[in-house]
């Protein structure tokens, strides 16, 4: 299986977007590339952009490797992607409003009702509750993979608390510092207006009772969370307070933050805490990260949570397999972005096929994330396959399976020099009462191990700057 290469296509050609970069790479001595790479690393260390790896005692703070060769998209490629992303996120929001409201899509048989009702992410507290301005998923991260010149698949929708946007911005920052000559050769669409767009989005969804200058804050689980750097980065760029659960209090269904001048009312909370932990009075009672009473304030309409509670039902992997039908049902249009062909193991025929072909397929747990509850058939050993076979037989509805995709590759600077490595792309889509926005590009993640298809940072993936050429 030969993967499509972002620079050379299926082999011999040189794709136009990469012409200048190719010339530059040919002239650049490897020592220079190595030097710039170590400068980039130094930059990231200095600013302290780290993430925590769960279960890794050695170092709780680690750098995600950064690759200095950018991934380049042309303007028409991006235009098509962006259109597809807007359509997809529109559908996600309409789907959420529907399953927590009239449930038309369930009645119409677009998706089996039990897939929604039995999903632990379908939050009963949200049923028949009108979220402020009707928007559920304010910040979405849609994982995209490419298999050929024209085909982009959505691999996963992240509708809860997608992370990584700080890497998108810092990657660009470091590239601008280290490779000014490359930016002189290319017209690269900027990404540094993301915080402004995010702030506008958050302001637009303030509750109607809020003042014209709503108070916004970013709620973090705290400095030991793997994405803490990003939380503090974003709070800083947005110019809003970075709060922990204990900084907030609820009185008479109004949320306040504890300040040196006493309690100050909060109108919009960009929360980076999962549903389960956000309110110990409603969800997990053992959560010390959340704010007791915040759900009650939310339901009284006195505060907006972004994203809304209960968006997880839309990015469930089993629901994912119905996304093409969902997009069509709600937008009345053909989906612009395709889904990866997916076997729903809850369907007996599909499961039989999956069990027969475990060595060829990627099997994913429907409620897992971060690549942990996953079997990559072609790279798995017998024991791993047998473990999954047992799981699949015991609980088929807990899984989906997909063919192993030939993710596109992109030239990457590795130990042996410049070589192709598999990449994906996570663009960030913002939805507010002010409409949908999406900065050009997103975060490109790269599997640094030769042949590996797993791009997750927790499994040895790195990142690249993503360029959308403006001309």
């Amino acid at each position: 299986m030969v993967a499509f290469d972002e620079m050379t296509g299926t082999g011999a050609e040189l794709r136009p977007a990469y012409e200048a970069l190719d010339r530059w790479l040919k002239e650049a001595p490897p020592e220079m590339l190595a030097l710039r790479r170590s400068q980039a690393e130094l930059f990231f260390r200095r600013i302290g952009i780290t993430f925590a790896v769960y279960g890794d005692e050695e170092s709780t703070e680690r750098l995600i490797p950064f690759d200095i060769i950018p991934r380049v998209l042309t303007k028409p490629e991006w235009a098509k992607l962006e259109k597809g992303l807007r359509q997809r996120v529109t559908a996600l929001n309409m789907f959420l409003a529907d399953v927590y409201g009239p449930k038309e899509c369930l009645k119409a048989g677009i998706i089996p009702p039990d897939l929604v009702y039995r999903n632990a992410c379908y939050q009963l507290e949200m049923v028949d509750f009108q979220v402020p301005h009707g928007i559920y998923c304010h910040i979405a991260g849609i994982d995209i993979v490419r298999v050929d010149a024209d085909t982009f698949y959505v691999l996963e929708d992240n509708a809860r608390t997608p992370s990584g946007v700080s890497y998108m911005m810092e990657n660009r920052e470091v590239m601008l510092r280290l490779f000014p000559e490359l930016f002189a050769m290319h017209r690269v669409a900027p990404v540094d207006n993301y915080p402004d767009q995010l702030l506008a989005t958050l302001r637009s969804v303030a509750p109607r009772s809020a003042s014209s200058d709503p108070t916004i804050c970013l709620l973090t689980p705290g400095q030991y969370n793997s994405a803490f750097y990003e939380h503090s980065f974003l709070a800083d760029k947005l110019g809003v307070e970075l709060v922990e659960g204990s900084d907030l209090l609820v009185k008479d269904d109004v949320v306040y933050m504890r300040t040196t001048q006493g309690p100050k009312r909060v109108d919009v909370i960009y929360r980076r805490i999962d549903d389960d932990f956000i309110d110990p009075l409603v969800f997990r009672g053992d959560s010390v990260l959340g704010v007791p009473g915040i759900i009650s304030a939310y339901k009284a309409g006195n505060v907006t949570l972004a994203n809304a509670v209960g968006t997880g039902v839309a990015d469930d992997k089993a629901v994912y397999s119905y996304m093409p039908e969902i997009v069509k049902f709600f937008t009345g249009e053909e989906p612009i972005l395709k889904n990866v062909p997916t076997f729903r193991c809850r369907e007996p025929e599909a499961n039989a096929y999956v069990l027969d072909n475990l060595d060829k397929l990627v099997v994913k747990e429907v409620n897992g994330s971060g690549g942990y509850g996953m079997l990559v058939g072609p790279h798995a050993n017998k024991a791993q396959i047998e473990t999954f076979r047992k799981k699949l037989k015991a609980q088929p509805e807990g899984f989906i399976a997909q063919p192993t995709l030939a993710l596109s590759t992109c030239p990457t600077f590795v130990a042996s020099g410049v070589a192709p490595r598999h990449v994906d792309l996570r663009p960030y889509v913002l939805s507010g009462a002010n409409g949908i926005s999406c900065v050009p590009g997103g975060l490109t993640r790269v599997a640094l191990k030769e042949g590996s298809l797993v791009v997750n940072s927790s499994q040895g993936g790195g990142t690249k700057d993503t360029w959308v050429l403006d001309a």
Partner: protein
């Protein structure tokens, strides 16, 4: 049967509480076979007590108070009139579809032993209803029930492995098995009155309800090995104990919490019932 209930939950704190919020699911609603004649809910500390409803339609009081508070008691009670409907539940408020109650939750996560047991205990029966009766009997025989009120729940799998637990645990075991068999099951918290039929059962109690396409919701009480009768007073229902918990709270300060609970549920003397 006319039942008089008196339930006191008393907290004493080593270090005073600065701020406290509690969610109280301690108020019954009317439905077929249950009529609330009188009911009160009284915290002994001044604060803000507001009534609302949760996702299931249970009546929820949110109580919040500012400290310093060293002692707090919540007194609830009243008089309920009940009828024996052989466990059939009708006239309740239903906010979410039965499919919701097929979810696994933290307290009702099955393990292999529970999966095997659910199938084995109900193999001889063909209808869902018969299977649930069989399950109730099997669990009543197999699991020891601790009614001391001194212990807290440990979850379905652990209770099953230990072959016993408090009524909450037995209920979770039943629900886990039912859900494994594809039958929606939910948790009910309430009270059981003293009676000749159940001489040891008096007090706060928990049981399960299972849903059948033909009959709707029917109650199953594994601790007592029967379907709820007119001694059972239904207070709240949910996905599991955590979802239907009588009291959930959060507080600032107040380390060293000492809890005491006193419950009585007795047949009300008709003479006093109308006060």
């Amino acid at each position: 049967m006319r039942i008089r209930i008196s339930h006191s939950i008393t907290y004493a704190y080593d270090e005073p509480v600065r701020q406290l919020t509690q969610i109280l699911r301690l108020t019954p609603r009317d439905h077929d076979g249950q009529h609330v004649m009188s009911w009160r809910i009284e915290p002994t500390v001044d604060g803000n007590l507001r009534a609302g409803q949760d996702a299931h339609g249970n009546i929820v009081h949110t109580f919040s108070a500012d400290g310093p508070i060293s002692d707090l008691a919540i007194h609830v009670g009243g008089v309920i009139e009940t009828l024996d409907l052989a466990g059939v539940i009708r006239g309740t408020i239903e906010r979410v579809p039965p499919d919701v109650f097929r979810r696994d939750t933290l307290l009702t996560t099955p393990d292999d032993a529970l999966r095997d047991f659910a199938v084995a205990a109900t193999r001889a029966d063909s209808t869902p209803l018969a299977k649930m009766h069989a399950l109730t009997e099997a669990l009543h025989d197999l699991l020891a029930c601790d009614r001391s009120g001194q212990r807290t729940g440990i979850g379905a799998a652990a209770a099953f492995a230990a072959r016993g637990g408090i009524p909450q645990d037995l209920t979770h075991v039943f629900m886990t098995c039912a859900r494994q068999l594809g039958i929606p099951a939910r948790y009910v918290s309430g009270y059981v009155a003293q009676s000749d039929a159940l001489p040891e059962a008096e007090g706060a109690h928990a049981w399960a309800e299972a849903h059948f396409d033909d009959y709707g919701w029917i109650g199953f009480d594994c601790a007592n090995g029967l379907c709820p009768i007119d001694t059972h007073v239904r207070i709240a229902a949910g996905l599991d104990f955590a979802d239907a918990a009588p009291v959930r709270g959060a507080r600032k300060g107040g380390s060293g919490e000492n809890l005491a609970v006193l419950v009585s549920a007795r047949a009300a003397n008709a003479q006093f019932a109308n006060q």
